[in-house]
């Protein structure tokens, strides 16, 4: 048994402790916004917040998040998350969308720590989020836009 909160809700799951968190969230908890891309921590599609920090959940055993607080794209909240969502919509960032929940989690994590990131900050923070549709230019602009929107 593993207990954690997901998007503010307490859950208990009865699965093998070495099951990846991504499997549990998608298949047991039916929150399918987080995607499977590679399974080997190379693409970022599965990123969720674990205790406020971005985490690749395809290589996170569910047993290791006992007692943790998890946020997924379905429940991401706060000033930065709202600014990111608005900027993403403003620029129509997604193309196919597969990578985007991971992109948004990473972008939000960056802005929570660095309110006014430079291009270099963005490149460093987003280096592990691959987009096969190559929406990188819009992603970077949207992060700048989100930062600008929070300044006023």
């Amino acid at each position: 048994m593993t207990n954690f909160t997901i998007n503010g809700r307490d859950v208990t799951v009865d699965v093998e402790a070495d099951t990846p968190l991504l499997w549990v969230v998608r298949d047991e908890l039916r929150l399918t916004g987080s995607k499977f891309g590679c399974g080997v921590a190379q693409c970022g599609a599965c990123t969720m917040m674990v205790d406020g920090m971005p985490r690749r959940t395809c290589i996170t055993p569910v047993g290791s998040v006992d007692g943790a607080s998890i946020e997924t794209i379905e429940g991401l909240e706060g000033r930065e998350a709202e600014a990111v969502a608005a900027a993403w919509q403003g620029l129509d960032v997604p193309q196919c969308g597969w990578c985007q929940s991971g992109q948004i989690i990473s972008a939000t994590a960056l802005l929570r720590e660095v309110p006014k990131p430079t291009d270099d900050d963005i490149d460093a923070a987003m280096a592990g989020n691959v987009c096969r549709c190559a929406t990188y230019v819009r992603i970077r602009q949207a992060i700048h836009d989100a930062a600008d929107s929070m300044e006023g």
């Binding site: 590679c38 971005p54 994590a109 460093a124």
Partner: protein, 199 residues
């Protein structure tokens, strides 16, 4: 017959004291080198077998990117060192590296883990350096994290992240020997004057 048994006994005793474990000679194996300085240098060269292992070099890189794998390719994804040798904001090492090695669920291999998981500071870079350079650097408090020799011994013999080098998880070759043998070698090197090789 007696002589044969005696000879056999000597050979076995010789083998026991001159043991090589997983490609690393034990400190005992250098007991035959009479001159302290020469013994010290020989022991350091043996330590280099561990220091030059990908398990150590990958996280003692030059520059701001760790290396990865037995072939020491640049880390993928292309992560950065960051100000605390722990990654960049939004992409710290803990984004992927947890408290232990985790086998991939979808195929062969594993992602390494340990707490803490981080790079050696850049002044402790080893990649591309010769044995004399690494030796001098190890003894220089300005480039070894302010450690004296006893603390260097502690880092090599007891540090948990160093120890991970011998249990690196599926898909990575462990460092030669064991951490205990490395610890004995480092102690033997210190006890003989911590001499550095000339080449």
């Amino acid at each position: 017959m007696k002589r044969l048994i005696l000879a056999l006994g000597l050979t076995l005793a010789g083998a026991a004291s001159a043991e090589t474990v997983n490609g690393l000679k034990t400190a005992d194996e250098f007991a035959g080198v009479q001159n302290d300085e020469e013994r010290s240098v020989a022991v350091f060269q043996e330590m280099m077998k561990v220091i030059e292992s990908p398990r150590c070099l990958n996280c003692h890189p030059r520059g701001d990117t760790p290396l990865q794998g037995d072939d020491m390719h640049p880390h993928m994804p292309p992560v950065q060192r960051g100000v605390a040798d722990f990654g960049a904001p939004g992409m710290y090492c803990t984004t992927c590296h947890g408290s232990e090695n985790v086998a991939y669920s979808t195929g062969d291999g594993s992602i390494p883990g340990h707490v803490p998981w981080q790079l050696a500071p850049v002044e402790m870079a080893w990649v591309g350096k010769s044995a004399p350079e690494i030796c001098a650097q190890l003894k220089d408090p300005a480039r070894n994290g302010g450690r004296d020799l006893a603390e260097i011994h502690e880092h090599m013999a007891e540090d948990g992240l160093v120890g991970w080098g011998w249990t690196p998880g599926e898909g990575r070759t462990p460092a030669p020997g064991t951490q205990a043998i490395l610890g004995e070698l480092v102690q033997a090197w210190i006890d003989t004057g911590a001499m550095c090789p000339e080449s």
